[in-house]
């Protein structure tokens, strides 16, 4: 167990430059295998560097197909710099699509509720229409009902004019008479 830990700490020092703790150093003094590992790990950079040229020289030489670069370069020059292709990652794209659909649904529901009359309103309007068409005799009465606010306004106006006349007669000591019966508005 201590050997494994010591070797890991040796590797850590080689890779990250963090000094090996004292307990591992003490273990290394007693353990030949860990000492051998430390020696081996320390020798690796020079060994690899020393043998690298021969290793690369053993690779069979092969030509690079530069003609394909020329073809590709020609195409690129004709097209100019192509924009980067839009890459959609599945999860964010799905989440965005769900959000858009939900938003549209909410908006649509709200607009529908505000714009359309309710079924009760529709029923009342139909009933009113039926009464008008079904009873033509009462049409005049219904018109009178509809006009009643106008007659009431006229009455109120006449009353206020009459009270104004009374005030002026009393105040200025004059007499004001109605010439004729009032004309219809």
């Amino acid at each position: 167990m201590l050997c494994k830990l010591t070797r890991w700490l040796i590797s850590r020092e080689v890779d990250r430059g963090i000094k090996t703790p004292r307990f591992a150093l003490r273990h290394g003094e007693r353990c030949g295998a860990c000492r051998a590992y430390a020696r081996f790990a320390a020798s690796l950079p020079s060994r690899f560097a020393g043998e690298r040229p021969a290793f690369l020289a053993s690779v069979p030489d092969f030509p690079l197909n530069e003609a394909r670069w020329a073809e590709d370069g020609g195409v690129r020059e004709k097209r100019g710099i192509l924009p980067r292709r839009l890459v959609l990652h599945p999860f964010p794209a799905a989440a965005a699509a769900i959000l858009v659909v939900a938003g549209v649904l909410v908006l649509f529901q709200g607009v529908l509720r505000e714009a359309g009359p309710s079924t009760q309103d529709e029923a009342a309007a139909l009933a009113a229409l039926k009464t008008v068409t079904a009873a033509p005799d009462e049409f005049q009465g219904m018109v009178g009902k509809v006009e009643s606010p106008l007659a009431k306004e006229r009455q109120i106006l006449e009353q206020s004019v009459a009270s104004a006349v009374e005030y002026l007669q009393a105040r200025l000591n004059i007499k004001i008479e109605r010439k004729d019966t009032p004309k219809s508005l």
Binding site: I10, D15, R47, V59, L64
Partner: protein, 201 residues
């Protein structure tokens, strides 16, 4: 006296910057510098020399296409090996789909028995021993000692965490030690000489 070719004295990053600005000559120099290095990196993964050559060609073609997206803040080798690794993974997946669950590295070792036998019997080179480790252990050793890349750059190239890279390196060193010097060193070897210049020294 003839002056050395000025382009040969430039660093990879300088060449990559020039290639990014449109210099094809600089890109060719980069490709010449890296084609063998990329080949030895990809060869164990792809199984045959031909596949490895094709992958090297594909990698350089991809880099040539995307040279404008190279960020000079990063080392060129990191960018190159990242692209190569991705292409190799993509190629591996395509092959696996085409021929069932084919382990390319195993298939490569079987497809090239002469080279493997030569590696086991004749060559005592440390790089050959490292290549025999196969898989990610060889790749991580190549990037660390062959390309002198930092742990961070290796992690970027391989798409792994730094801890995963360190763990791979540690295992690779232990496996390599077993192959290169399988006989344990006598315990009573001269301790002072044994630890001098090592992490224990």
């Amino acid at each position: 006296m003839v002056d050395p070719d000025p382009i040969a004295t430039k660093t990879d990053e300088e060449l990559a910057r020039e290639a990014r600005a449109g210099s094809r000559r600089s890109f060719e120099e980069l490709a010449l510098r890296y084609k063998r290095r990329l080949f030895v990196y990809l060869r164990p993964r792809l199984g045959s020399d031909q596949d490895a050559e094709d992958m090297v060609q594909e990698t350089f073609l991809k880099l040539f296409r995307n040279i404008r997206s190279y960020d000079p803040a990063f080392q060129f080798s990191t960018w190159l090996y990242t692209s190569a690794s991705r292409l190799a993974i993509s190629s591996y997946r395509k092959k696996r789909i085409a021929s069932g669950r084919l382990d390319v590295e195993t298939a490569g070792a079987l497809a090239d028995p002469e080279a493997r036998a030569a590696g086991e019997a004749g060559s005592a080179g440390i790089w050959d021993a490292a290549r025999d480790l196969g898989g990610s252990q060889y790749r991580v050793l190549w990037l660390r000692y062959g390309e002198d890349m930092t742990i961070e750059a290796i992690a970027t190239s391989l798409g792994k965490s730094r801890l995963a890279v360190r763990l791979l390196l540690h295992r690779a060193r232990k496996s390599l030690m077993k192959r290169v010097c399988p006989v344990p060193v006598p315990v009573e070897a001269t301790k002072a000489a044994a630890v001098k210049g090592t992490p224990l020294g």
